[in-house]
Amino acid sequence: MLNPLRSEQEAFRFLLYVVVVAAVVLGIVFAARALT
């Protein structure tokens, strides 16, 4: 299991996940705003 506090490598991987998740969430919100 990913533990971002265990090592720098896992913290970096967690950061990449956060970037992707944030991009997806923002995309969904902007798409929903454009459609409504």
């Binding site: 506090l5 720098e8 913290a11």
Partner: protein, 200 residues
């Protein structure tokens, strides 16, 4: 008899328990980051509360909007600095001293650029913390994060100076790894702050 002698020779409090699974430096940073998550959580609670209850809504207020593009460039700078941080640590792991030094120095310079741009943003943004609840929480959240960048920069400065003095090896590089974990945490928090405060 020997046990009694050993007991009599021991002075002071008993030795602190040391975990065999987590090193003290990592445990300290782990507990610190957990407390930091709670601190940011308190600020985000205030932010979402204000967004829900404020009659005037979120920005723009009175024609003044948040500088999304500049903050976007700043976000790119901070995310880049995490890549250079990771590169520096990979350098330490592979005994590549140049990668370690250049990576740490670049990370510190990118962090300094982020902080400089943020201060410049405050100077030109056009509203003060005392103007309204929205501006208060804007300065509160971004300022809290800026303070963390400053702390991270301090840690990075120590690590960079040590790297240029020849410290750190492939086996012993906690002095880079622990600030690295903190730096990534600061970066993660900024992505959340930028997404929610500037973009949403």
């Amino acid at each position: 008899m020997e046990a009694a002698t050993a007991h009599a020779d021991h002075h002071g409090p008993p030795a602190a328990n040391v975990s065999s699974r987590v090193e003290a430096q990592f445990l300290g940073m782990l507990l610190f980051i957990i407390s930091e998550v709670m601190l940011f959580g308190a600020f985000f609670t205030a932010y979402f509360f204000i967004r829900v209850v404020a009659d005037s809504g979120w920005f723009p207020i009175d024609g003044v909007d948040l500088p999304k593009a500049i903050a976007g460039v700043n976000t790119a700078i901070l995310v880049s600095s995490s890549f250079t941080m990771h590169w520096a640590l990979e350098g330490a792991r592979n005994e590549n001293r140049n990668a370690l030094r250049v990576g740490l120095l670049t990370t510190a310079l990118l962090g300094l650029s982020f902080l400089t741009i943020q201060v410049n943003e405050y100077v030109h943004i056009g509203f003060a913390p005392s103007d309204n609840a929205q501006s208060t929480i804007f300065y509160g959240l971004t300022g809290l994060h800026g303070a963390h960048v400053f702390v991270g920069l301090t840690l990075l400065t120590f690590a960079t100076v040590r790297a240029f003095r020849g410290h750190f090896t492939a086996k012993e590089h906690r002095g880079v790894e622990v600030p690295g974990i903190y730096w990534h945490f600061v970066d993660v928090m900024w992505i959340v702050v930028y997404s929610s405060v500037y973009l949403l």
